[in-house]
């Protein structure tokens, strides 16, 4: 049997575990709030400051809050839930290479977090800027990069940490929002700086944390996801399974 079939079976199973009613409601809530706030900001500011204001809002609400939180919620539970409910054993014991499970977990998490990040926030950009195409594309691309990177990182966290949600929140709120902004060295270890840089450079609007080059902004989040998948596979091969 081809490894692709096994990979797809894992992917479908993990994806199916992701989509619960409460999570879908949460996605809807975050999305509606983004649309309403973007519309409100777009209407309240002068036309010449509209793009700057809306991009500023999306960088804080989207990149700083919505995408990391939703990615954390979905990605950390992809394998974390299997650990918690002790079902990982049924998959782990099968004669499949560990990278298949790690890749399937990341793909399942990204399948949810990517549209959740891109569609409502790009729509918010469109509403807030009255359809300014460059801003919409920049928003969609930067949110997608953030979702890809965070999903890889948090799939690994869900496997490694018992309270991954808590540690993830500490990373998002303490490291990304405060420590990373305090110095250039810390900022390099912040995933958020890379999609921020893409958003800033594509819209030509100054944003905090946006100190990386366009190339780094495009390459680092997917590369980080790849490294996280490899680390997840390594961890799966070493961990004790309950």
């Amino acid at each position: 049997m081809s490894p692709v079939r096994q990979l797809l079976a894992l992917y479908r199973t993990l994806l199916d575990q992701q989509l619960t009613k409460s999570r879908l409601l949460l996605i809807a809530g975050f999305s509606v709030l983004a649309l309403v706030l973007a519309l409100s900001i777009g209407n309240q500011v002068e036309p010449e400051f509209r793009i700057e204001s809306v991009v500023g809002f999306l960088s804080v609400y989207g990149l700083g809050f919505m995408v990391p939180i939703l990615s954390l919620l979905f990605a950390s539970s992809t394998l974390g839930q299997l650990v918690d409910d002790e079902t990982l054993v049924y998959i782990w014991l099968r004669p499949n290479p560990r990278w298949q499970l790690a890749l399937a977990a990341w793909a399942a998490a990204t399948t949810v977090s990517l549209p959740v990040a891109v569609i409502p926030l790009a729509s918010a950009a469109a509403i807030g800027t009255s359809g300014q195409t460059d801003t919409v594309v920049a928003t969609g691309l930067s949110m997608a990069l953030a979702a890809i990177g965070y999903s890889g990182l948090f799939v690994l966290a869900g496997l490694v940490f018992r309270r991954a949600l808590l540690w993830g929140l500490v990373y998002v709120f303490i490291w990304e929002l405060f420590v990373a902004r305090a110095g250039a060295g810390a900022a390099r270890l912040s995933l958020n700086t890379y999609p921020h840089s893409v958003l800033a450079r594509m819209t030509e609007i100054e944003l905090p944390l946006a100190e990386r080059s366009m190339a780094a902004g495009l390459i680092v989040p997917p590369a980080l996801a790849l490294v996280a998948v490899a680390a997840t596979a390594w961890w799966l091969s070493r961990a004790e399974i309950t």
Binding site: M1, R5, Q6, A9, L10, T13, D16, Q17, D85, E86, T87, V89, Y90, I91, W92, L93, R94, P95, N96, P97, S237, E240, I241, T242
Partner: protein, 320 residues
Amino acid sequence: MTALDTPPPPVVPRDASVVLTKVSKSFGPLVAVSDIDLVIRPGITALLGPNGAGKSTLLRLICGLAKPTTGTVWVAGGNPRFDDEARSHLGLVPQQDGVFERLTALETVRLAATLSGLADPEEQARRVLDTVELDAELERDVGTFSKGMRQRVKVAQALVHDPSVLVLDEPLNGLDPRQRHHMIDLFRRLGDAGRTVLVSSHVLDEVERFGSHVVVVAKGRLVAEGDFREIRTLLENQPHRIRVSCGQARDVAAELIRLPTVIGCEVVDAETVELTTGDVRAVRRQLLAICQKLDLTLHTISPLDDDLESVFRYLVGDRP
């Protein structure tokens, strides 16, 4: 995985399916499994031990789910912790209740079949669900199943790839008497067909029905191994305590103490007597005669030390 991580292969007897050599497992200061040497061959082997004896840890080590602190585990040609080929020969029914709550029984078993690389996962899943008497057409998620039904799903996913080594951790939990009988029969057939079936239990009578070869574990150590009947005889030679409820306790106690098979007797209350005997079966027969003589109804006869804790205390020489 480096060469340093790979322990040297153990000396494996030709007919062995599972070989444990000097295996220990510690969790911090707690030693769960201590210095176990064990060879398991095709057929049924019952792993017997009280709760907390280290049975589940031992089974997890055999399946490669846990890394031994010291020693080596060899299963069907390799180390299941690192060797896909060795794991392909393993089927496990874990003790925990966890199942994929949002999958149906067919989806759960089909996933196992797909991941095992079977050519026709759907067909194999249906076949094995039929074997455990579960309806493959059932549309309900496994999360809504009764404990017994979940248990059968767990057995089905373990069997779907026809493993040569089947590891069953308390597999009869939650099953009704008819299902228990069916499962025991199934495991015996697998053992007779040359599969290695390692089944753990803390219920002595249950183990007796699985087969004759028994491995007894207590406090993480292997304390006895061999034919069940020999171990049973060993256990039956120790004095047993029994509680009898039949009314007129003083009169019954007076009759009982005269019997040569009764070592000691104590009146607990007006209805209940506790006695110590070296021959439980004889005392049961004699009790019926005593009750008949005194015109009493025998309500209950319950063993006070027939639980496995007592059995193992006896086996390890730590009697109560």
